[in-house]
Symmetry: C2
Subunit: 216 residues, 2 copies
Amino acid sequence: MRIGILGTGTVGQTFGTRLRNLDHEVVLGARESGNPRAVEWAEAHAARCGTFAEAVADADLVINATAGQYAVDALEMAGGNPALAGKVVLDLSNPLDFSSGDLRLSVCNTDSVGEQIQRAFPDARIVKSLNTVNGSVMVEPSLVPGQHTIFVAGNDPEAKQVVIGLLGELGWVRANVLDLGGIEASRGMEMYMPLWVSILRALDGNLAFNINVVQG
Amino acid sequence: MRIGILGTGTVGQTFGTRLRNLDHEVVLGARESGNPRAVEWAEAHAARCGTFAEAVADADLVINATAGQYAVDALEMAGGNPALAGKVVLDLSNPLDFSSGDLRLSVCNTDSVGEQIQRAFPDARIVKSLNTVNGSVMVEPSLVPGQHTIFVAGNDPEAKQVVIGLLGELGWVRANVLDLGGIEASRGMEMYMPLWVSILRALDGNLAFNINVVQG
């Protein structure tokens, strides 16, 4: 697949590297063309880089790896609803705001980033997934031993199947993928973040963790 | 132990019945003396019932099983800080508000019920636990097979040990108890509720589920 990644941070680069290793074409998109991090990464991984719009232009799949509070802006800069129409957009983001010193979510309870971007770009097919684990675990679930769960949410069943296929390529076992329904389930997936951070602290900063849903 | 339970709903009664089966003395506390649900339960389980204040008066351990948005009020009616001073208060509650049709939390992101009641009653020793599972699982963790995690949070280490001891009596394996630190971790434990509700729907309403924290 041709995959456009928005965001040149750790998650964007980790994802891009893994997708290159799986032989996908990758365009790493930045706010501005010529972003040094993106150029360096692209050269090292036989990939391309460019603006958000260039990353989206020919993409079969778009991955939002920007910070949640900037996701609508980034997708708007990428060309907005006309550019995204019909495209599957995998949203990895969380609305984390540490500016107060403590974790705050910049949106929660009555809305979420997943819902915001689906509303802003109604013809895009938004799928929320992977935001409940660290970037390293997203692309290498075997870093966490045994069974553990990854959630997906989105309004378009076909788009979810595309993402579930990609999850399989990354190493996620199909039985551990839990479909939570429509994009409104993003709310719970994002609001899990404060518990995620508390668990991370209780595990002395070990990022290689996840939760497994177990039922009787 | 003498245990005072505030709240005569399903969680309060389920907990009371289980504690009676473990041979603890139980006083089920209601907003008003003579609450018919409480009287009926007490007669059936060789226990006592009374007002919130009567439930707290001689208790070695207080359990808050009221709805989260009424927890401060209920503990105030129970006698407030003087009555609660030094007492271990296990807070099971969640600030669930379904009045809009959808789930909303009545407090979240910058505060939580656990923190509210610790602030309101500074000499009480508040411990948050068990709010992340259904009442039936709280008192019978074997309803969910295999390993699964229960969280505790609170500022007083001794009080947490009292609660961890009670968790053991209920059947929670010590290795599955994860201490998240101070009472501020209540925030994440309560904000997990929207994800909990989404998981419940994805499991077709099977309440006998929980999450297991797995690390690499």
